[in-house]
Symmetry: C2
Subunit: 390 residues, 2 copies
């Protein structure tokens, strides 16, 4: 038995021929009643056309949205004025296909940056998707937004009779700065747009903004939440906790499916002068190609971890830093107050060779802390990205 879908939402995913391999590439999400909406978008200075379209739409009507149309296979980014017109046309196509009012559908795109959207395929795909909309279409929708993902990412939560469902995609170009590449959350909670927006930003910081696969911030990052109110009002704090939990679940699924990833790595930095400084240090470790290849190779080359902390820009006193690594075989302290400790190379190697590794850096300065999730850097990442468009 699967989790119950939020009341009043229907989903569909179809293959519209945008992807060369014939896989599903158009998803549609529709609410039977108007939704309050909130979204966070990429901070990339070249935002994709759908990001620009959605920003305007949400500013204009945060309380009257009916759904989202999403395609994979083409990002509609770096496409100039023509791309903006395509995004608007895609929204209009979705509204027409699903019988919704104008300016009620959010659009998202993901895939290759540069090419224009194939609009005839998009329109046909949206028409086909509209004909298949159903409450149990959520899995098909989640599959249709995949690019290099090897599996769909979905999550369900319930709180006080309210239901939440979320889906996300992303496996590369993942270093979200506001949100991951694409994620949509729908809920039947009744919650005002301003409160929804505040709770979404809170959830983002502790989920999508805490992961990194390759340090590349996409042009298309979008996290959307639609709340149609079908289940009535909800306690805002309890809703926020469930939303954060659901977003963190999706974010970890993205890391576990990182391009070429063979390991899941947690970087915890504590004792920093601020949470921001801790995050800066943790992200430097998470993004270091040298750290990531050492994890891939199972080589306990721990000096690279401190080297990355050292160039992160975070305030550091070398004489106060502690370092631990932890995994299936146990926990090992490698550095205490800046002094390297004698340690079992055998245990260190066993930890690094495991599939789930936790690194803890204690800076010993104050109470700032952050946790970042990342994956290793493997031959497969190079394979995938050396020939992404072919």
């Amino acid at each position: 038995m699967t989790d119950p879908v939020p009341r009043g939402f229907r989903f569909a995913g179809v293959a519209a021929g945008i992807k060369k391999n014939g896989a599903a590439d158009v998803a549609l999400v529709v609410s039977d009643r108007p939704c309050n909406a909130a979204a966070v978008f990429t901070r990339n200075a070249f935002p994709a056309a759908p990001v620009q379209y959605d920003r305007d739409l949400l500013a204009e009507r945060p309380a009257g949205l009916r759904g989202a149309a999403i395609n994979s296979g083409c990002a509609n980014a770096c496409t100039g004025e023509g791309g903006l017109a395509d995004a608007a046309a895609m929204a209009a196509d979705a509204e027409a296909a699903a019988g919704l009012p104008p300016r009620s559908v959010v659009v998202m795109s993901t895939g290759v940056i540069g090419p224009r959207l194939p609009m005839a395929k998009i329109a046909a795909g949206l028409a086909a998707a509209a004909a298949q909309l159903a409450p149990d279409g959520w899995d098909a929708a989640a599959r249709a937004i995949m690019t290099t993902d090897t599996r769909p990412k979905t999550a369900f939560r319930q709180v006080d009779g309210i239901r939440l469902f979320g889906m996300a995609k992303g496996a590369g170009m993942i270093h979200p700065n506001m949100a991951t590449m694409l994620a949509a959350v729908v809920t039947d909670a009744e919650i005002a747009p301003a409160a929804l927006d505040a709770r979404l930003r809170q959830a983002t910081a502790a989920s999508f903004n805490s992961i990194s696969i390759d340090g590349d911030t996409s042009t298309n990052d979008t996290l959307l939440v639609l709340a149609n109110g079908a289940a009535g009002p909800v306690d805002a704090d309890r809703f926020a906790a469930a939303l954060t939990d659901l977003c963190a679940d999706l974010a970890r699924q993205i890391v576990r499916d990182g391009e070429g990833a063979t390991k899941f790595i947690t970087i915890a930095v504590q004792g920093a002068t601020s949470d921001d400084d801790a995050r800066r240090a943790a992200k430097a470790v998470a993004n270091s190609p040298l750290v990531k290849t050492a994890f891939y190779g199972g080589d306990a080359n721990w000096g690279r971890i401190l080297a990355a902390v050292g160039y992160s820009g975070a305030a550091v006193d070398p004489g106060r830093a502690d370092l631990w690594i932890e995994g299936q075989p146990g926990r090992l302290q490698l550095v205490a107050a800046g002094q390297p400790l004698a340690y079992s190379e055998e245990l260190a190697t066993a930890i690094f060779q495991g599939a789930d590794i936790r690194v803890t850096v204690e800076l010993g300065l104050a109470a700032g802390r952050a946790t970042v999730w990342t994956c290793d850097l493997s031959h497969a990442y190079v394979d995938i990205n050396g020939s992404y468009r072919t």
Copy 2:
């Protein structure tokens, strides 16, 4: 016929058993007369012990140095108080071996971060090197400082009868923030310490600080210049030009020998609001794993270049950006004033598949410009760094 070595300098390189593979790993550079010296060091907050030792030494006596002792195979970084004592002992060993006064020799180390220096091997190696010092020992010295380098990096320049020689090492953990991993330049010019320091910083900005292999800033980066005055005074501007040219030569050699590199890539950003902003944008492109794997795969996925500029933090107006790529087969404009142009996919692919590629991004805002040199990210980089210590 080789270039003439600066007057009064002798060099040696020997195998002291620090590296497991038995390759040369101890180098010694000695001047017959006292040198004025200047150096730039890593900004990593965990500076290696030799960096800390040298900083003190140069502050104490910028005008009385006699040489440098360098080992590869062990970085003496993240080694605490014991490592500091080892660095001082290594300097004293070199001074004793070469019959030099105390506190006259700079030390540098490169290799694995974490382990302590094998001091008995270091002392024996320095004694052996001292016995072999000779003007034509420069090639042996340059080979003894290599780690994952596949070839030594050396360069000669002459200006107004003055001679300069430089050697450098570095193939990974290369994203210098002040200097590359290790480089030493010797000259027989007569130039005061303050002027030497100013000219060295100027040269660094346009050379070692303009390259990146993997975005990792080492704990050990050191660039040292020793000027023994044997050839008399020099015009400071002409000397600076020769020094900059020599440093840029060494820096490009490092990129061409980047770990696993198959291509040499020049990223030029112009039209930025400042040179700093241009450098920020160029470095983001140079460090992007997605851009670097696309170059490796010969896939003209140019959207990734603009995406990296977009997240670099540099001021950008998407409607003003131009993009060109250039290589053996020709030059191609891909974007004009933010609008993608129709282009020959065949020519774009041919350019990306070449071994020497130039990317130019025009931001159209002001006159800021920077050029950064980098390489691609290949399977071999993952091989090398997945098992560096084994």
